[in-house]
């Protein structure tokens, strides 16, 4: 999916709408026997792989161990337990932060040889809604700093943030609402998509008499139309002109 997510931030920096549009990333579920070859450690509310990546997908992190270094074998699936991946499920049951589904601590569970062989699913963790709120307000502040740093008056603020895996596009309206779209770097037509999202917002969120301004948007019609617009933009895609 070329468009990953959409965020709408109100004037005060609060997140009023968020949509994740990507297909679930390939998670790896494998069976392991004691002892585990990688190092797990707690990070925030999760258990993540700190070291010991297997199968040389990205060899640098695991190169301290001889057997991991230089393994040129191409990985069968994209996401093996790589550094940074979090433990998502143990034996099929999703973990709840740092506790297993039964309420036991994940690290304790995994350090007990009696529990092996165990099947663990790793993957990139999804952001929780609190984290998204925080990130949105942080972005809002960065945006304000960006406008102030401008050598000329009347800067548009941050319009695009580019990384190797995604591009973040931001459009701030004259009233202070920001529409943020995270998309594939090759995706085109995001500018017109941002304008379209603004129109959809003014149609389905604002014209809804029961929607209060600056509050989280909970309008079905807005959701539906937004998804349609995203799909249309993706179809137009990197191969054709933006819609």
């Amino acid at each position: 999916m070329a468009i990953f997510s959409v965020y709408v931030v109100n004037k005060a920096g609060g997140l009023i709408y968020q949509l994740d549009h990507y297909a679930p990333r390939a998670d790896a579920e494998k069976t392991f026997s004691f002892p585990l070859e990688f190092v797990l450690r707690p990070h925030d509310e999760r258990v993540v792989v700190a070291f010991g990546q297997r199968d040389g997908v990205r060899g640098a992190a695991g190169s301290r161990r001889e057997w991991a270094a230089g393994r040129g074998r191409a990985a069968a699936h994209g996401a093996l337990p790589a550094v940074g991946h979090a433990v998502l499920a143990i034996n099929g049951a999703e973990v709840n932060g740092r506790l297993t589904a039964d309420g036991k601590d994940v690290l304790e569970f995994l350090s007990n040889p009696a529990n092996y062989p165990v099947s663990i699913r790793f993957g990139r963790h999804r952001l929780s809604s609190n984290e998204k709120l925080m990130l949105a307000s942080m972005f809002h502040s960065l945006f304000a700093i960006g406008s102030q740093l401008s050598p000329e008056l009347g800067s548009s603020g941050i319009e695009m943030l580019e990384t190797d895996t995604f591009k973040l596009h931001c459009f701030q309206t004259l009233t202070g609402i920001k529409f943020v779209v995270l998309a594939d770097p090759r995706q085109t037509g995001i500018d017109s998509l941002l304008r379209k999202i603004y129109e959809i917002y003014s149609d389905f969120a604002l014209k809804n008499p029961f929607y209060s301004l600056e509050m989280p948007i909970r309008c079905e019609l807005f959701d539906q139309n937004l998804k349609l617009a995203l799909e249309a933009a993706e179809k137009a895609g990197p191969f054709g002109p933006g819609s």
Binding site: G154, T175, G176, R195, Y198, S202, L206, K207, L213
Partner: protein, 166 residues
């Protein structure tokens, strides 16, 4: 569908007159309702018209008259600046679609501002783009004046000292 809108507006004003005895109350109510419409309508206006940020009060007044009024009511009032300071403007409407079916105000409602909703709309919309303004009816054809004139007075910008968001 413009007719339906005009009729609905007329029914709204008539009902308000029944609900409130004093003209000022009706006027205030209309203004408040207009304000609620204005704060939402501004986004619709900005989304559809794609106007750039106005750099001066006169640009703003021009945009309101030539783009916004045209888009929503189908009329284009003329703009005149009525103060040396450059922050007071008048929009002169010779044709006001809202009063198409109204002959004249009833005798007991002599100080009713029939189109006060419009004032509220303009005020609400301007506030959302950080321009505080006072909008009133200076002349009203329904009250016997020659033309309908809406006065916009831009008040001191509250975000002058802080950085401009936009």
């Amino acid at each position: 569908s413009r007719e339906l809108f005009v009729l609905t507006y007329g029914a709204l004003v008539a009902q308000l007159c029944k609900d409130y005895e004093k003209d000022e109350d009706v006027n205030t109510c209309l203004d408040r309702m207009g304000y609620g419409i204005g704060v939402r309508l501004i986004e619709d206006f900005l989304a559809r018209s794609a106007v750039k940020k106005c750099r001066s009060y006169s640009e703003t007044a021009d945009t309101i008259a030539q783009v916004a009024f045209k888009m929503y009511l189908g009329v284009t009032p003329s703009v005149s600046c009525s103060s040396a300071a450059g922050n007071e403007f008048s929009l002169i409407l010779d044709k006001n679609p809202l009063v198409d079916f109204v002959e004249e105000l009833p005798a007991e409602r002599a100080s009713l501002c029939y189109c006060n909703l419009l004032c509220g709309v303009i005020r609400g919309a301007l506030e959302m783009v950080h321009l505080a303004a006072e909008v009133t009816f200076l002349q009203d054809k329904l009250k016997g004046d020659a033309v309908t004139e809406i006065g916009i007075v831009f008040l001191k910008n509250t975000e002058d000292k802080k950085h401009k968001r936009n």
